[in-house]
């Protein structure tokens, strides 16, 4: 299956379906969606509320599993992986950035960023080195011993990005990363993501903001769980 595409392909989903059921209603979140994303791309996913953006991102991030269809990640079919296997794949390959930051309140900046390294079993000395490196890069070293509540929104998102990249993931999934930020802080975050992409990290970002989307190479527009348009940015 693999190797048919000229550029190295990272993600290929085919006929992906996802339903949400309540007692009376069945909602189709993803309707036979097919998308391919190459390594090194910066893709924005857009669409109105309820179009399935977040569902897609969750499935791409292996936080959720599809009801039907195929999902090939780096040449491996992962659609029906067990949670354990998904967790394993996830922690080595994917970093997440959320709209609401999702930092753990009880941990300091340093400890929040350190967490993924603990879960991947990195030795303590190496952890300190790598966390300091990435905090430095995100320019929040001076806040290393603060708790999330003591930081501004922009700073919190920097910490979240630091946490997402500390493990050097191949893919970063960002769910409206600027949604809770003012425009100045939002621009900073977008610059950071662009830098990361230029250094080789694939980025998939869900956004409502046309402004933010312009940072990407390609925009995939979803409506009612289907891809309705793709814009290639120049």
């Amino acid at each position: 299956m693999a190797g048919m595409i000229q550029e190295a392909q990272m993600i290929k989903i085919t006929n992906l379906e996802k339903f949400y059921r309540t007692e009376e209603v069945e909602t189709i979140a993803l309707n036979k969606l097919s998308i391919e994303i190459a390594t090194g791309e910066f893709v924005a996913i857009m669409g109105p509320s309820g179009c399935g953006k977040s569902t897609l991102l969750n499935i791409l991030g292996m936080l959720d599993d599809p009801d039907a269809g195929s999902y090939v990640f780096n040449d491996i079919e992962v659609a029906h992986f067990t949670e354990r296997k998904r967790a394993d794949l996830r922690k080595h390959n994917i970093g997440f950035v959320f709209q609401s930051f999702n930092l753990i309140d009880e941990l300091t900046v340093f400890e929040n960023v350190e967490l993924p390294l603990i879960y991947t079993g990195v030795a303590s000395a190496e952890r300190v080195k790598r966390v300091e490196e990435v905090l430095d890069k995100m320019q929040i070293m001076h806040r290393r011993n603060h708790y999330p509540q003591q930081l501004s929104g922009g700073q919190q998102q920097r910490v979240a990005i630091a946490r997402a990249v500390v493990n050097k993931p191949k893919l970063i999934l960002a769910d409206e990363p600027t949604g809770n930020l003012d425009s100045s802080n939002g621009n900073d975050v977008m610059e950071l993501l662009t830098d990361l992409n230029e250094q080789g990290t694939t980025i998939i970002m869900v956004t409502h903001s046309e402004h933010d989307a312009r940072y990407s190479h390609r925009i995939i527009r979803l409506l009612d769980g289907q891809s309705v348009m793709e814009n290639i940015m120049v």
Binding site: N58, G61, A87, I104, E111, Y119, N167
Partner: protein, 809 residues
């Protein structure tokens, strides 16, 4: 990794200080209380186990049935001990104890009254483990007028424990040579004496009578299994040794005696059972009962359950707030196992802290508890051997159970669901939590009812009409010290203004003086027509002084010379004999070789209204009173505003008659109260524990109400925006819990009613009925406490600014 768990746990706990405090304090308090009760129960269960040979030691009890009378004795015949040792090779040794009553012991010029005096056979130290500090255990009690004393007594009288060879003067005239000093008898002993007089001092101990029982007799068997063998041989033994005496005294053989429906039999009770299971005639001291052991154990388990349920409830309630953290951790690569480990570590950590706190609390509360329970419990190296592992086990167990809900439940969800906070919605929906709240409150209500019942019963005992008037009666003990002047003392005391009357006898409803005798309805001494009552010697002033009432006939009188052969029965005795009138005749054997020739004839002069002389746990037995001089005590009915003056007058009279012996007096109502001290203590302990249980349950409810309110913050905000009033919201929040309390009332009330009747009140011959208002009061109390607890949180949530509450989502 563990470090990270502990760090997160610690900071999380710190952040929710209120929750943490409630959770840890509740559990710690529960565990501490439980620990104290366990110490108490273990103490009760450990009686007599200090004896290294305890598993092989038995006491011989005697069952006597005479016609329709039956009595069980803790004492046996004088020659039994030596006979058992001689007859049965598997009886390694035997020892007799005989309570010696009170003695005055001389110290300097004064005589001090000692109550803890006993006669003991020389074999005492071979059977019981009473380590001797100085002296020779095998010969110490062999000679007449020797005494072995405890360390405490030695220090009291000689200021030293090296006193072997020194002399103690007893009752101002009898020298005893100290032949040994032993360590104090452990508190956990069914007998507790300071002076062990050598049995050979007491001439009666050489008696060969097989038809009377007054020696506590213990056997040391070669193996515990010999007990059955020995018991089986008792009938044969009795036939062999008492047969001839019975023939001579009662004019019948043992077979004929048994055939008439009467019997006397012997049985063995293991030494370690005596304290909790034996309450017979002639015990060496008051024993405990298994009833309280059961009740206390049940309370301990209840409290532990309540505390654990609390802890679990609060932990799980809080854990739903942590769904987001679980989600984040999952996204960052934590797998399920790691999350489970994290939550369990955290939970065990908290229980561990609580356990530590519980231990410290128990240490601090122990002196108070000892005061309350009258015990001398301590946490020492021996008890630590079980306390530490037990506490560790409990903290691990409770921690694991409490942590298992978040650990297994939350970690099982799809990370995207937990991240979105989907789990944080349902507080109302948690059936398990509702069940646990009902469970807790049922226990609390059960305990409230139990406490009220016990309190009422004890109150009833104390205010019950006893058939005599115990108030304003001064008892001067041991009037026999005055010898022949006892009568003069009585006369002179009666003349003191403020003294209404006085009666001289040791046989009082509140005293331990007891004596029994056999009376027959006909001169042939037919067992079938016999009465086996308390047989008391009283004087003419007895009935009047003690405020008893005659229901027929009259009391004894000086003007009736024939009263020396007169008898007063109590109602029970009259009923038993079928007498409802006076002028009936009773016969009593005067002993001697040929009993039938030596029968005394008594005529009934009066029937006195029944009065309580035993514990109110037992029903009133028959009493027969004869007119005779008994100088056991002088009971004085007084009526004065100036009691100290009256007392000093009485003391002076005593001093005039007996300058060397100190007067020993007490008040009858105090003696009565003393006999119920154990019950009162138990009642107090029960009340304290129940209050604690309810407090712990309320702590839990308080925490749960807080969380319920927190969970519904958004709902509360929306409702307020839409116009709901504070009271409507407080009501809405309280309703769920109040419903649960009502369910608890429905469950607990019938159970408590049943168990208190069956378990507790059955133990009293004179008892209350559980009134309906007790049940209602308990339910209302629980409801009231719950409403107070919950409404505090509900109102707090309801008056909050709706903008604030809406912002939280």
């Amino acid at each position: 990794m563990i470090k990270n768990y502990i760090k997160t746990a610690f900071r999380g706990l710190q952040k929710n200080k209120g929750f943490t405090a409630i959770n840890i304090l509740g559990l710690a308090l529960g565990l501490a209380t439980c620990l104290l009760i366990v110490l108490y129960v273990i103490d009760e269960l450990s009686y007599d186990r200090y004896n290294t040979k305890s598993s092989r030691i038995y006491r011989v009890n005697e069952d006597l049935k005479l016609g329709d009378n039956s009595v069980q004795y803790a004492v046996c015949m004088p020659p039994l001990a030596k006979t058992l040792k001689a007859e049965y090779p598997y009886v390694e040794n035997a020892v007799r104890l005989k309570n010696a009553g009170s003695w005055h012991v001389k110290k300097g010029n004064s005589n001090i009254l000692e109550n803890r005096v006993v006669y003991a056979d020389p074999s005492l130290f071979d059977v019981f483990t009473l380590p001797m500090i100085s002296g020779n255990p095998s010969s110490a009690l062999a000679e007449p007028n020797s005494v072995v004393i405890t360390e405490t007594a030695a220090k009291k009288y000689f200021n030293s424990i090296n006193v072997v060879g020194k002399t103690l003067v007893l009752n101002d005239n009898t020298p005893f040579k100290v032949t040994g000093v032993i360590r104090d008898v452990p508190k956990q002993s069914h007998f507790n004496f300071d002076f062990f007089l050598s049995m050979p001092t007491w001439p009666d101990s050489r008696s060969n009578e097989w038809l009377r029982s007054d020696y506590n007799t213990y056997v040391l068997l070669k193996a515990p299994s010999d007990a059955k063998k020995l018991e089986a041989s008792f009938p044969e033994l009795l036939k062999k040794f008492s047969g001839a005496q019975m023939q001579a005294q009662l004019n019948m053989s043992i077979d004929a005696f048994e055939k008439s429906g009467s019997f006397f039999r012997m049985n063995l009770i293991p030494l370690t059972d005596i304290h909790l299971k034996s309450s017979l005639s002639g015990e060496l001291g008051p024993n405990g009962t298994t009833q309280y052991i059961y009740i206390f154990s049940a309370i301990a388990i209840f409290i532990l359950l309540i505390a654990c349920v609390n802890f679990m409830n609060l932990s799980t309630a809080r854990s739903s707030n942590r769904a987001r953290e679980v989600g984040v951790r999952k996204v960052l690569g934590s797998d399920r196992k790691q999350l489970i480990a994290q939550f369990l570590t955290e939970s065990v950590l908290v229980t561990f802290v609580a356990t530590l706190l519980a231990f410290i609390t128990a240490l601090f509360l122990l002196p108070l508890f000892n005061q309350l329970s009258g015990k001398e419990l301590e946490i020492n190296r021996q008890s630590l051997v079980w306390i530490v592992p037990a506490l560790l086990f409990i903290s691990l167990f409770v921690g694991a159970i409490a942590g298992s809900y978040p650990a297994f439940y939350l970690s099982a969800f799809q990370p995207v669901d937990v991240l979105k906070g989907k789990l944080a919605t349902g507080f109302k929906g948690s059936r398990l939590r509702s069940f646990l709240v009902v469970f807790q409150f049922s226990i609390s209500i059960f305990l409230i009812i139990g406490t009220l019942v016990i309190y009422n019963q004890l109150n009833y005992i104390q205010t019950k009409n006893l058939g005599y008037n115990r108030n304003q009666v001064l008892i001067v003990q041991n009037v026999f010290e005055l010898n022949k002047q006892a009568k003069i003392f009585k006369q002179e005391v009666k003349e003191i203004p403020g003294v209404i009357n006085a009666t001289m006898t040791g046989f009082l409803p509140t005293s331990n003086w007891k004596s029994t005798a056999i009376y027959y309805k006909d001169a042939t001494l037919d067992q079938k027509k016999s009465l086996f009552p308390q047989s008391w010697e009283i004087d003419e002033d007895y009935v009047k002084t003690l405020g008893m009432k005659m229901v027929a006939g009259r009391s004894f009188s000086k003007d009736m010379p024939t009263d020396s052969a007169g008898i007063i029965l109590n109602e029970s005795a009259a009923r038993f004999l079928g007498f409802n009138d006076v002028n009936k005749i009773l016969y009593k054997s005067q002993g001697g070789k040929n009993t039938l020739d030596n029968v005394k004839k008594y005529h009934v002069v009066g029937i006195v209204k029944d009065f309580n002389f035993n514990s109110l746990r037992e029903s009133i037995g028959p009493v027969v009173m004869t007119l005779a001089e008994n100088t056991g005590a002088l009971s004085i009915r007084v009526d004065t505003k100036n009691l100290p003056a009256l007392l000093s007058q009485i003391k002076n009279k005593w001093k005039e008659l007996s300058p060397n012996v100190q007067i020993d007096y007490s008040f009858m109502d105090q003696e009565f109260d003393a006999s119920y001290r154990t019950e009162q203590r138990t009642g107090q302990i029960f009340i304290v524990f129940t209050s604690l249980a309810i407090l712990i349950a309320c702590l839990g409810l308080f925490g749960l109400a807080a969380y319920a309110a927190e969970q519904r913050t958004k709902e509360i905000g929306i409702r307020k925006v839409l116009g709901a009033s504070v009271s409507a919201i407080a009501g809405m929040l309280s309703k769920d819990f109040i419903k649960l309390v009502f369910i608890s009332i429905l469950i607990a009330t019938p159970l408590a009613w049943y168990f208190m009747n069956k378990w507790f009140l059955q133990g009293f011959a004179y008892r209350i009925n559980i009134q309906w208002w007790v049940l209602v009061l308990a339910g209302l109390a629980a409801l009231f406490i719950a409403v107070i607890t919950i409404s505090f949180q509900s109102i707090k949530a309801a008056i909050a600014n709706p903008v604030e509450s809406l912002k939280t989502e």
